[in-house]
């Protein structure tokens, strides 16, 4: 009860807002300045450090590796809960260095590593090949082992236990040698993962057919193989105090605004959650506004889309275990674009976009408009149509608001059930849905046939929105418009549009106004916002991203149309 009164008090009485520094995407500064301006380093970070287990982002509680092998063995057994943890494998062996045998052990998770690589590239050289007569005067044991014995291609030396633990948790192997105050780690990942397949949620007819998988390195390689640019930076960040989920921040160093990179890094590193499983969770931790219906970043499973957005000066975040990459910042207009828009010719792309705009309008407003017109503005319908609607509604016992809510809720039920239902009985749901939503409801005079058309058109409209997260927001807001339309007709709809518009124009995605480049109006980069200009006319990158390099291509990018010197001179200038 007291919670209710507190809420009521919060609505009625003014409380001074807590000071919160807004991130502003300014023109390029050096990275240090940007991070300083936008960060609130200091107190909060230290206060919230509940349990640092070697996050990798913070080396505050590092445990050094000792020289005695027994101590190290004991330490890792405690750390990995051996023998309770049944999949932790510890293998003890001897290494021959010079004429003496040195005790050692290695540790890894069974199932996470490639056994063949472990056997052939780690154990075999250490246990057997070390007996060979190696021509070397090297007396330092670590250097000798690294230089002459370990034949694996990815070997690191770690001086702290946390570093070794991090590697092991991500499919590596840790090698401890008696007398060494450091350990070797080798990347021998061999866990099962899905191969690269077609993206499930962003199908295109024309364009690449590869989608991300759940493996971070596969995903980064899918982008790198497209961009082939040494300035593409893949920066690793570990998120999750316990899960230490590997994330990669991708950006093109000489295009992206430095303060944007600093801000994304700051937000990622500030996450104090125990476990992070998917990019959807990361999105919720770093988005600007929790309760705005629209998403603040693009979630895509298409590497080609991520690559294209990186070239505009954005930052992408890939999370290990998630087939969806996050790209930020974004605007409302980019959320209704499909990757296919860039691959088809201009007339086709613009037709698709016009259809999509229509679909959005229908998905958002059609039920509300139907209610408004049938309840308040019957006069705007041509007489014939009005009579046919009224005739269809004659036997329906409910007011139109109840009628439409019944249908919309039924539709939402079927949509939700359709996702959860096992594949084998999926067709059954289609039959039930068609019966409930169509024939039976009309035959029982619960709803009018025209309403079936309205609900069906609304559903189809929402499916035509490329971003499923954006489509979700339309599904939520649609109910608001229905209620407003039922309350006050077009006045209610106008109020809804006004408030909806206000929330959009006041929103920001990583410092970029959500309705840019129209509100505020920004210069250049308008060729691919609502409708698309020919690709050769899109000469500048979006101005609202404040990229370092604003020019995407020269004024005349099609060298062959030049009338002098075959166009080559013009291409250069």
């Amino acid at each position: 009860m007291s919670g209710f009164f507190d809420t009521l008090k919060g609505w009625l009485l003014f409380t001074e807002p807590a000071p919160r520094e807004q991130f502003i995407l300014r023109e390029n500064e050096n990275e240090g300045d940007g991070s300083l301006k936008n960060s609130q380093e200091g107190a909060p970070k230290n206060k919230r450090r509940r349990r640092q287990k070697g996050n990798g982002n913070d080396a505050g509680t590092a445990q050094p590796i000792g020289r005695r092998l027994a101590d190290n063995l004991n330490a890792v057994k405690i750390r990995f809960n051996v023998p309770t943890n049944s999949d932790v494998m510890i293998r003890e062996f001897d290494i021959v260095v010079g004429k003496k045998a040195i005790a050692a052990f290695m540790i890894y998770y069974d199932g996470m590593v490639d056994r063949k690589v472990v056997n052939d590239d780690i154990l075999l050289p250490l246990m057997l090949l070390s007996n060979l007569d190696v021509k070397s005067d090297e007396a330092r044991v670590p250097v000798y082992i690294r230089s002459h014995l370990l034949t694996h291609n990815q070997i690191k030396e770690a001086s702290e236990l946390d570093q070794v633990v991090g590697e092991i948790n991500f499919g590596g192997v840790g090698i401890f040698v008696d007398g060494m105050d450091s350990a070797f780690t080798a990347d021998v990942k061999g866990f099962e993962h899905r191969s690269v397949e077609r993206p499930n949620t962003e199908m295109v007819i024309r364009g690449p057919q590869e989608g991300f998988t759940e493996t971070i390195r596969v995903n980064t390689s899918l982008i790198r193989k497209r961009l082939k640019d040494e300035d593409l930076i893949v920066e690793d960040v570990l998120v999750g105090l316990r899960s230490k989920t590997p994330c990669a921040m991708l950006y093109i160093r000489d295009i992206v605004n430095d303060s944007l990179v600093a801000e994304v890094r700051r937000r990622l590193k500030s996450i104090q959650a125990d476990y992070i499983h998917d990019s959807g969770e990361i999105e919720q931790y770093i988005e600007d506004s929790t309760f705005l219906a629209s998403p603040h970043m693009v979630a895509t499973e298409r590497p080609d889309r991520v690559a294209a957005m990186l070239t505009e000066g954005r930052v992408a975040v890939i999370v290990h275990g998630s087939p969806f990459a996050l790209v930020m910042p974004t605007t409302a207009f980019e959320l209704v674009q499909s990757p296919e828009d860039h691959y088809v010719r201009v007339p086709s792309a613009n037709l698709l976009r016009a259809v999509r705009l229509l679909a959005m309008t229908v998905a958002l407003l059609l039920p509300g408009l139907y209610i408004a017109i049938t309840n308040f503005h019957q006069g705007m319908l041509p007489t014939g149509l009005l009579l046919s609607i009224e005739a269809a509604r004659e036997k329906v016992p409910f007011p139109s608001i109840v009628e439409i809510l019944i249908m919309e809720i039924s539709f939402e039920l079927i949509r939700e059930a359709g996702i959860r239902i096992p594949g084998t009985i999926g067709p059954t749901l289609g039959i039930i849905g068609a019966l409930i939503l169509g024939q039976a409801a009309v035959a029982a005079s619960i709803v009018s046939p025209i309403l079936i058309i309205v609900v069906a058109a609304t559903g189809i409209g929402s499916f035509a929105i490329p971003s499923f997260a954006y489509a979700y927001s339309f599904r939520i807001l649609r109910f608001g418009y229905i209620i407003l339309g039922a309350l006050a007709g077009f006045l209610g709809i106008s109020l809804g549009l006004f408030l909806h518009g206000l929330t959009l124009v006041t929103s920001k995605s990583f410092g970029v106004p959500f309705m840019a480049p129209f509100a505020p109006r920004t210069a250049g980069g308008l060729g691919d916002v609502v409708f698309k200009e020919p690709i050769w006319k899109q000469e500048r990158r979006p101005d609202y991203l404040n990229p370092k390099d604003e020019v995407r291509q020269p004024k005349i990018s099609r060298g062959w149309i030049g009338r002098q010197n075959g166009g080559e001179d013009q291409n250069g200038g």
């Binding site: 300014r26 505020p520 109006r521």
Partner: protein, 391 residues
């Protein structure tokens, strides 16, 4: 600090154009017909010229003050007392206009769409819209204007063009309508039509520089003058003089005439959305500036706590007039007669006092010098300054 928010010329132009032209959707064309009969359009041209002259004079005087609003200038000219006095005058005017307009819009909405609803219910929708918008701040209001106002203008022009087949040039005869006094005498007081220009004198801290101030002023006046004149001309051309005096909502009546075939007719229902959009934007600007002026007049830190009380005051006062006729009568007696003074005379007096008494260019305490603009091609385009609307 308002200096933290800087927006571009187009946003400011859209804001002022909507606040001036919102009257077109109410009764402006009919008022012109009442004043000067068939010469209503000449009256519009006449007072528009005067408005341009006044603005020319004010912008010349304003040239000495960069990014200072009327209250800053009042403080320069007469210290805190003049600032408080000027603030209270402008605040009173805004609350009065806001109240009248809130009631007038609601009454007209009832006439065209919600005839069975109580007035308080309809007013409630507008009140919610303006309160939420003012709460979200000026940044949201101007950006919303920047997107919506062009659409409102296009919708208006569409209506005016779609009734071209009904134009009857002889309806403009006699050319001088009610005669010289009705055009020149009554017309002078119609200068109050441009009274929303007062917002421009409150905007300097939010816009880039003095050049932008002049650009915004002239552009807003020019676009508004075109729309006002076009609406009056269309109304006078379509209806003969006796009929011109009958309709409360001239543009709505024009929209009702549109009829192209069996399907494309009854466009007036779409007029409701245009009308409501214009009204909500207008009222949100009034409420924000009322709260902003109160805050600035009394040097308060936040404007948000004032929004709910001001909304309640405007809503309650708006219920006092008996009916639409009482509201229109009140508007004629007060708004038309006096508002031109607060928009054109008060700024001139304050500017002259400031020029005489204070060193030019000096800024009062607490004002922040601005940086580059946020839009209109300026940099950082995607990064408008932020912070002020959280107050």
């Amino acid at each position: 600090m308002e200096g933290d928010i800087v927006f571009g010329s187009w946003e400011a132009i859209a804001l002022i154009v909507n606040t001036i032209c919102a009257r077109i959707f109410l009764n402006f064309p009919r008022s012109m017909a009442e004043d000067a009969g068939t010469a209503g359009w000449l009256e519009t041209v006449y007072f528009t010229i005067i408005a341009f002259l006044f603005f020319w004079l004010i912008s010349r005087l304003y040239a000495r003050f960069n990014r200072q609003d009327l209250l800053d200038i009042a403080e320069l000219g007469g210290g805190g007392i003049l600032r408080v006095a000027s603030g209270l005058i402008i605040l009173g005017v805004l609350l009065f206009i806001g109240t009248i307009i809130l009631r007038e819009y609601s009454e007209n909405m009832m006439i065209i769409a919600l005839s069975d609803s109580p007035i308080s219910f309809v007013m409630g929708f507008f009140a919610v819209a303006m309160a939420v918008a003012a709460y979200l701040g000026l940044e949201g209001i101007v950006r919303s204007h920047a997107i919506v106002v062009p659409q409102i203008m296009l919708a208006l022009l569409f209506i005016l063009v779609a009734v071209v087949p009904y134009y009857q040039p002889t309806n403009l005869l006699p050319v001088l309508g009610g005669g010289g006094y009705s055009i020149l005498g009554k017309g002078f007081f119609r200068l109050s039509t441009y009274s929303p220009l007062v917002y421009l004198f409150l905007l300097p801290p939010f816009i880039k520089d003095q050049k932008s101030f002049k650009t915004v002023g002239y552009a807003a006046l020019g676009i508004s003058a075109f729309l006002l004149l076009a609406s009056v001309l269309a109304y006078l051309l379509v209806y003969p003089y006796p009929t011109q005096l009958e309709y409360f909502l001239p543009v709505f009546q024009l929209a009702r005439l549109i009829n192209y075939g069996r399907i494309f007719q009854r466009v007036e229902s779409l007029f409701v959305i245009t009308f409501a959009a214009s009204a909500m934007h207008y009222l949100s600007a009034i409420l924000f500036f009322a709260a902003h002026i109160f805050k600035k007049t009394f040097k308060l830190t936040h404007h948000r706590p004032l929004i709910l009380p001001f909304t309640a005051i405007m809503f309650t006062l708006g219920l006092l007039p008996n009916n639409l006729m009482a509201v229109i009568d009140l508007e004629k007696k007060v708004s038309v007669r006096f508002l031109w003074g607060t928009t054109f005379v008060l700024p001139i007096i304050l500017l002259l006092l400031a020029i005489i008494r204070a060193a030019p260019g000096s800024a009062p305490a607490g004002r922040v010098s601005g940086t580059g603009g946020a839009s209109g091609g300026g940099r950082p385009a995607g990064a408008p300054k932020r912070g002020g609307q959280d107050q």
